[in-house]
Symmetry: C2
Subunit: 339 residues, 2 copies
DNA sequence: GTGAAAGCGCTAACAT
DNA sequence: ATGTTAGCGCTTTCAC
């Protein structure tokens, strides 16, 4: 378990350290034999180049920052943790490490940036989920590559990996329509959030396309955060004021779960009395008796794509901004049924 | 936002780079005036020492690994994420960074270790929660300092930050006893897990001390994992076979929530018909109507303590193993009441 | 109390 | 196709 250096490898392979370095970087003009010899030595010694030494020369840290609000990190549903795992997974192929930092959801006037930025201990960063504009403004002052996931600053000035929320909202609503539902409600929290707003747009488009009129009484978007308790409350408002709703599209699974709980508590059965569909697919384990139909979001893949983007941008800072849209997929479980 | 080096600071302060270095490390034989001058320059330039350069000399990476199973990371309740945040928080004071890695819950015969170990990119590691023994054995081959949190390898050969689970289980059960309950059930998953087993022991001790006999029919510990679905199942077994149980101590909040759902579904009211207490305090947001009484575990603080321990051990590798026991605190909410 | 200089492990430009 | 060497930014003796 000793730590060997490039010198040890060079000695063992009877070449210079420069040659070893070239082999490591897969340089073209290295003879196959030399390459082989060196690789053998590397393997035998279990040699791993020192990241510090490399970093010193290349002026790179080999680290990528992953930033999200503590709200998002601590949410009961593991949405962003999955995305994080995707970045971490993909990071291997790029020989990068991911440093995770959370920031306060209300990033105050003089809140400080994640330490790895001030410390200059990253080469680029991935920002996951909606974060305060104030934070974004501050971060952009450091000229580090930035990639957004599941959110994009309104000026759209960075690369982003996003869900096709509008299409997803359309498909979810269409699913309910195909099951014969006409009185289809929508609940959403923080509708100013672009993702949730797009899902809402998809809902309206689907109704419109099916020739079903949009009824404002069936729409409840006043909650400020798409969490369970708010789903519960939204459902209460909705169902205590409207008796003929037969289906509900919740902007995410958390709100869908809250709504289901309300319906149960108020003596309604899902899906017998009301069909419910969510979005995100994070609730698999949560509802024991009535598994939730939902729109599956490829969370791991989103992380993977984000890591690919940031890695490219680190290598090639002049890169133009890219947008990757990933589709959401309809998953039919037990919470929706034919009317 | 340019990157200044120690030379720039030296030049600005009219001293040598050695002096700057000494000031940074708060060396005693530096005159107050020089110290001041240098600090001024550092501030003015917003100078941060290069971690790579430092690492190269000191043969340290400045990184600490945080390892847990993906099961634990992705669990619906943010228990280990809180601990992680604690380590990250405390890491600032030690100028360390935390690298998070998950391993498969069933760490197979030839599964590979977290990359930062093979890469030698950490100075020490924190292992959170129960992990496979095979993983521990493999990791110990690298002679890196190890600190456990919320688990300890059976041979107890490392430092650990643990909850006083036995005392916690005792207090939880005592709470129910004080409310007048006599027929008190216990549900647990994976009772071979030391933490859960200790909670169980606390339960038994409390009953014994109160002169209440331990009824094996009231104990359901056959589930293999302390998750909601298993709490639901355990409650079903328990309550369909026993009509006179008036209180339930669940080994953790997840199982308590599952049990509450079962009771609701089967027409029983909490706490009117059955009092329930959990453990961990991770369910604050989850139960809307009946907030769960529980034993609060200081998760953030546990992370903080773990980081302190590992930091000490990195600086002083000869350190003897330490054990830090943190108490769990009774939190009475709405799910328990006087009989 | 402060400075000069060696050297940590690596990359890359330049020689050969 | 391979080797020599300067130098990245810092810490740490050793001089003075």
């Amino acid at each position: 378990m000793t730590n060997y250096t490039i010198k040890d490898v060079a000695k063992m392979a009877n070449v210079s350290i420069a040659t070893v370095s070239l082999v490591i970087h897969d340089h073209k003009r290295i003879s196959p034999e030399t390459k082989h010899k060196v690789q053998q030595a590397i393997e035998k010694l279990n040699y791993h180049p020192s990241r510090s030494a490399r970093g010193l020369v290349s002026r790179k840290t080999g680290n990528v920052g992953f930033i999200l609000t503590n709200d998002h990190f601590l949410r009961t549903e593991p949405f962003y943790t999955q995305i994080f795992m995707g970045t971490e997974f993909e990071a291997r192929d790029h020989e990068l490490y991911v440093l995770l930092a959370t920031v306060d959801s209300d990033f105050g006037e003089n809140a400080s940036l994640p330490r790895f930025i001030l410390d200059k201990n990253i080469d680029g960063m991935i920002i996951a989920g909606k974060v305060p504009q104030r934070l974004i403004d501050k971060m952009r002052k450091y000229d580090l590559p930035i990639v957004f996931v599941d959110y994009l600053a309104p000026d759209k000035k960075n690369s982003v990996v996003a869900i096709d929320n509008e299409e997803g909202g359309f498909l979810a609503t269409q699913h309910l329509i195909k099951l014969g539902h006409k009185n289809i409600a929508f609940i959403g929290g923080d509708i100013s959030h672009p993702s949730l707003n797009d899902r809402f747009t998809g809902y309206k488009n689907a109704l419109e396309k099916a020739g079903i009129s949009i009824v404002s009484k069936y729409i409840e978007t006043e909650e400020d955060y798409p969490a369970r308790a708010n789903g519960y409350n939204a459902a209460r408002k909705l169902f205590s004021a409207n008796k003929n709703i037969t289906a509900l599209f919740a902007c995410n699974d958390a709100m869908a779960i809250g709504a289901m709980q309300y319906l149960k508590d108020s003596g309604k059965r899902v899906p017998d009395d009301v069909s419910i569909i969510g979005f995100d697919d994070v609730a698999a384990e949560v509802m024991i008796d009535t598994p939730l139909s939902t729109m599956r979001v490829p969370k791991l893949e989103m992380g993977v794509e984000a890591m690919k983007l940031i890695s490219e941008q680190i290598k090639n800072p002049g890169l133009i901004n890219q947008k990757i849209l990933v589709p959401a997929e309809l998953i039919v479980r037990k919470s929706t049924r034919k009317i």
